[in-house]
């Protein structure tokens, strides 16, 4: 084993990001690392590359225990990383990027000719013939990615971590990249490949490790891996005791419900294939799919964050134009985004300010909401959602994850939307708060609100949804209603191999 990790743990306030994780990487092996958002993939990588210090456990590289405290130190030890976002400098030349910090010098000055020679030597064997004297930024992302790999390999040479390297590449570029990666494997490097494209993982890797909620679920050889089982391992199974919603069987005629809003041909090239969606009063629509399948993009399109060129929105008899979140809010829509830290809450503002934010925006800044009205609303939602805070003036950043999520919910509830979109509403919150939020969803729909919920926790979707739409490879592939909403059925639909050209 070139790299062994034993009982690695890392805590953040309120979250166990990594819990007693073991991981082995052999020389000449490509090892896939899989898991949904928050599973602990990036924490594991950050511990390896020195961006985080681990709380406990050990990491052994080539028989020596290591404990890197910076990226530079990890590089020197032999661990190189290439990220999804190319972390090189587009304003420097290819040669400058490859040799940054190690430029060949003559009489104290950088020797341009020697640098070019050296850079060309480094790129040999990568199948790219490019002018190393040009700016890196003038080349495609795929080439930049290869340059980043060449630099990482040359600097480190034992372990190469590829963190979602194919996210912005097309099929040909992926093929080029994979050939390079296979070549590096032949040279005896240990390669960790992080990706949420399952086909690529099956195609490229020798073994696969699945993480979920900071724990290692399994490590298996790719050849003996079952696709269904893999997905079942990635998706959560935490909510067995939540009561399932009472449903009528799929065949039965449920009393027709009033339509709130109807979306047609919502889609955009390279984002999501066009889909239709009719939202009825009081229903919960679940959106199931793996990370990167297009589920969040679908929601963003409904809310006007992404534009859908051919999309139309019918509100009763009239066609409304939802070109921006502002329009969507005016039409009675609400959206609680997945990453509440960056998109949802404003950590330095108080609970009250966060709750009234959207409402105030709708009124316009000139018509300031009276202070006692603000207070009344805030107290009402602190009470209704059981937000654990001493009072409405506490900064939201000081609350726990679950309570932050409730504040985001309260903001949208205060708007009294007809149709509320929740993207991963239970991500990173504790089990108690989890169940509470699900109960809250039921209560809201009893009052007639329609909710669309996106979640990686299948049991959560099964518990609350009236119907579940499965998204796979940027397409809405199927819709399950009533009795069809079962864990196995959903996984089956997610797992079907995609129609896209498979990568050789």
């Amino acid at each position: 084993m070139v790299l062994s990790i034993r009982s690695l743990s890392k805590h953040f306030p309120g979250v166990k990001a990594l819990d007693d994780v073991d991981f082995d990487l052999a020389a000449g092996e490509i090892h896939g690392l899989l898991g949904e958002n928050g599973a602990g993939k990036s924490t594991l990588i950050k511990c390896l590359t020195g961006a985080y210090r681990r709380d406990s456990g050990e990491m052994i590289l080539d028989g020596e225990p290591i404990s890197p405290s910076s990226t530079a130190e990890a590089q020197e030890l032999g661990i190189g990383t290439v990220y999804q976002e190319v972390n090189l400098l587009p304003n420097l030349t290819v040669a400058q990027n490859l040799l940054f910090g190690r430029e060949p010098r003559r009489l104290g000055f950088i020797d341009g000719k020697a640098m070019r020679r050296e850079a060309e030597r480094m790129l040999k064997g990568y199948g790219v013939a490019i002018d190393v004297a040009r700016d890196l930024g003038s080349y495609s992302v795929a080439i930049q990615q290869l340059v980043a790999i060449a630099r990482a390999v040359d600097l480190s040479g034992k372990v190469l971590i590829l963190d979602e390297p194919t996210a912005s590449l097309d099929a040909n570029e992926v093929r080029l990249l994979f050939n390079v990666v296979r070549g590096l494997k032949e040279r005896g490097l240990g390669i960790i490949f992080v990706s949420h494209f399952l086909d690529q993982v099956f195609d490229l890797t020798d073994r696969v490790t699945v993480l979920r909620n900071g724990k290692k679920i399994t490590t298996e050889t790719t050849a003996s891996l079952d696709r269904m089982e893999l997905i079942a391992n990635m998706l959560g199974h935490e909510l067995e005791r939540v009561e399932r919603k009472q449903r009528t069987a799929a065949g039965d005629q449920a009393p027709p419900r009033e339509t709130i809003i109807r979306f047609t041909r919502m889609g955009r090239k390279n984002v999501v294939e066009p889909f239709d969606l009719t939202v009825h009063k009081g229903e919960v629509i679940g959106l199931a799919g793996l990370l990167g399948s297009g589920r969040t993009e679908s929601a963003e399109m409904l809310f006007g964050i992404r534009s859908a060129p051919e999309g139309r929105v019918h509100d009763g008899e009239t066609v409304v134009n939802l070109a921006s979140p502002r329009d969507a809010i005016a039409a009675g829509l609400g959206f609680a985004p997945e990453d509440r830290k960056t998109d949802g809450i404003i950590a330095s503002l108080s609970v009250r300010e966060n709750i009234i934010l959207a409402l105030q925006a709708q009124r316009g800044w000139l018509r300031k909401m009276p202070r006692n009205e603000q207070k009344r609303l805030t107290d009402r939602y602190i009470d209704a959602l059981d937000i654990r805070t001493p009072d409405g003036e506490k900064a939201v950043g000081d609350l726990s994850g679950g309570n932050q999520q409730k504040v985001v919910l309260a903001r949208w509830l205060a708007m009294n939307p007809r149709f509320l979109i929740l993207d991963e509403p239970t991500r990173g919150i504790d089990v108690g708060a989890h169940a509470e939020i699900l109960r809250l969803i039921e209560r809201l729909t009893d009052d007639g609100m329609a909710i669309l919920i996106i979640s990686s926790e299948l049991d959560e979707l099964i518990a609350v949804s009236d119907r579940v739409i499965v998204v796979r490879d940027r397409q809405h592939v199927s819709e399950l209603v009533g009795d069809e909403i079962q864990r196995d059925r959903i996984i089956e639909n997610i797992a079907a191999p995609d129609n896209r050209e498979t990568v050789a």
Partner: protein
């Protein structure tokens, strides 16, 4: 091999200078004399030197607003110390350069370790240095020293009776040294790296803190050197001198083709930026009927032109990448 897009702003700068000079020449043939050229270098020597420091700062994505005040402080410091003590001017120069470099280094340290924007830190430095100049004296202090007479009288008579003065040569040398540092050293590579993106630079192993301190120390050194040249040029020290020179220097850097957000540009371009601005002034002197505020209007228009050019180039290179030219 096609021309690298990063060269376009520099080529544009040189083209504008050449065209402007040619236009002036058709109107006033005397403008091509070595006298005019010599004066152009002499009159703009202090600006050119300080602009070299500013180029490095802007390349790294920062800004240094303190340099105008530091030049004024330098002049006053030299004048007062020469008046009060019997130190040799060279000794005073050395003292001053140590002071101004340390001042710049201190600002760089604050910018890095307190993670403050360079704009605010150097704005504080600007007030500090100006205040320190006032503390030394509130009057214009003439410098009378035989060594100064020697420096002021040092020139090489070019053919055509133009004078290539010592301070003019000093500026050209500074540009050459600045270009070597920016483009041919590891420090220079780190400056460009910082300008390209601090996060990426750090991940690539650049020593961000050390580089930041060195950048502002370099700018401080150049401001001190510019102050010495300015004191030779004017023969006095005055705390109210060179107000706003930092902004003129920034304008020269941008007209010289360096991108204001950092990461791309050439030190040589800054020389042409300075010369272009000097050329406009010379033209107005030659014309005689134009008021001096026309200088400012033309500089304003040139700045606008370059900002638009930079935006245009950015669009161009982005559309190229998305078109998939690999």
């Amino acid at each position: 091999m096609t021309i690298n897009t990063r060269l376009y702003p520099l080529l544009a700068t040189i083209a504008i200078f050449v065209i402007a000079y040619a236009l002036s020449y058709t109107q006033f043939p005397a403008m091509l004399s070595t006298r005019v050229v010599g004066n152009l270098l002499t009159d703009n020597a202090y600006l050119g030197i300080v602009a070299v420091g500013m180029t490095i700062v802007i390349l790294s994505g920062g800004i240094d607003l303190s340099v105008g005040s530091v030049i004024a402080f330098s002049g006053v410091f030299i004048a007062v110390v020469l008046r009060e003590t019997s130190l040799h001017p060279l000794m005073v120069f050395a003292l001053l350069l140590v002071l101004s470099t340390a001042f710049g280094a201190a600002m760089g340290g604050i910018i890095h370790w307190l993670a403050m924007p360079s704009f605010i830190v150097t704005l504080a430095g600007m007030f500090l240095a100006r205040g320190a100049a006032y503390m030394l004296t509130i009057d214009s202090v003439p410098i009378a020293h035989p060594f100064y007479d020697l420096l002021q009288g040092a020139y090489w008579l070019m053919p055509g009776k133009g004078r290539l003065t010592l301070i003019g040569v000093a500026m050209l040398l500074t540009v050459a040294v600045g270009a070597l540092i920016a483009h041919r050293t590891r420090f220079g590579a780190s400056v460009f790296a910082l300008g390209g993106g601090e996060q990426a630079a750090r991940l690539m192993g650049a020593k961000v803190g050390r580089t930041t301190v060195m950048i502002y120390a370099f700018s401080g050194f150049m401001a001190g050197l510019s102050g010495i040249v300015f004191s030779i040029y004017t023969g006095s020290g005055y705390p109210l001198a060179t107000v706003g020179t930092e902004l003129t220097a920034i304008a020269a850097v941008v007209i010289g083709g360096t991108i204001l957000t950092g990461g791309a540009g050439y030190v040589v371009g800054t020389l042409f930026g300075v010369l272009t601005m000097g050329l406009i002034q010379t033209y107005i002197v030659f014309d005689g009927s134009l008021s001096s505020w026309w200088t400012k209007i033309v500089i304003g228009l040139l700045l606008l032109l370059f900002i638009l050019l930079q935006k245009g180039l950015l669009r161009l290179s982005q559309s190229r990448i998305s078109a998939g030219h690999a």
